[in-house]
């Protein structure tokens, strides 16, 4: 349940921008060229380049292919950390609140005689 939060906060910084999240979502469909990634966005090409560089720096996106025709891909390993953080906390609270709910019902049914 303990995480390297320095890395994690860097990852979340990269994830904080809606354009970058949209790019990541595009990449869940598979590797893509720069042109493919830039097409749906209403922003300049240099702006798209900046976002892709930020994603590369965070490790969320990896560049493969040749220097002239790069292909961008999602890194499942880098995504695992934020996804795990959220799912662990969700699991922790789901379980706690389920127990709390059972306990509340036990107590209120005894007292209130609603049953």
């Amino acid at each position: 349940m303990e995480y390297a939060l320095d890395n994690l906060s860097q990852t979340f910084s990269a994830l904080a921008d809606p354009t970058r999240r949209a790019i990541l979502q595009q990449l869940t469909q598979g590797g893509a060229s720069f042109t493919d990634l830039a097409r749906p966005h209403q922003i300049s090409r240099p702006a798209v380049v900046k976002h892709i560089k930020a994603l590369e720096k965070s490790g969320l996106v990896e560049r493969t292919g040749s220097a002239t025709r790069p292909v961008y891909q999602l890194s499942a390993a880098a995504l695992r950390e934020p996804v795990d953080w959220l799912s662990n906390y969700q699991q922790f609270w789901d379980s706690s609140l389920d127990r709390l709910d059972d306990y509340v019902r036990e107590v209120t049914e005894q007292k209130g005689g609603k049953a």
Binding site: L8, L79, F92, D102, Y103, V104, R105
Partner: protein, 157 residues
């Protein structure tokens, strides 16, 4: 009686929010949430056992829960930052490692609001990324879900 599931969403990239309705007044939920003798009944992940709870319920007061889970001793510590009985509680949250060293602190907020014959509990967990707090990501929940699905697919492959 059917179990009522938690509703979960992500109001911002570093936040997770759970919402659930309980058939009890806010004051009862407040007591169950803050009284060590009640906390031992419910706190912890699946399989949590042998809980020990201490809580100094005042602003600046410390609380802690030790329990057995995942095959070992787990310890979480926090400090109450805001207490508005029985409606709102804000606290820090940090795990201790095996050597008793405190990890990075996150924060949670508990909100209890009367709803129908019971109370709506809303719990918001916030990661300690100060620079993110002003940015409220639109469509975050959908992105997070598709990214989580992607990781699950990659794990399965």
């Amino acid at each position: 009686m059917t179990e009522q599931a938690n509703e979960v969403d992500f109001p911002a990239p570093e936040q997770m929010r759970l919402s659930r309705w309980f058939p009890a007044p806010p004051a009862l939920l407040w007591r169950f949430w803050t009284d060590p003798d009640q906390i031992v009944r419910w706190f912890g992940p699946v399989g949590a056992d042998q809980r020990k709870v201490e809580a100094d319920l005042r602003v600046g007061g410390a609380w802690g829960v030790d329990f057995q889970a995942y095959g070992g001793l787990r310890r979480v510590r926090g400090e109450y930052l805001e207490l508005d009985e029985p409606h709102r509680l804000v606290s820090t949250w940090a795990w201790l490692d095996d050597y008793g060293v405190k990890g990075v602190e996150s924060q949670y907020e508990l909100a209890l609001t009367g709803e129908g014959d019971g109370v709506r509990l809303i719990l918001t967990d916030t990661l300690p990324t100060a620079e993110l707090k002003s940015q409220h990501g639109q469509g975050w929940a959908g992105s997070m879900q598709s990214l989580a699905d992607y990781v699950a697919e990659q794990n399965a492959a």
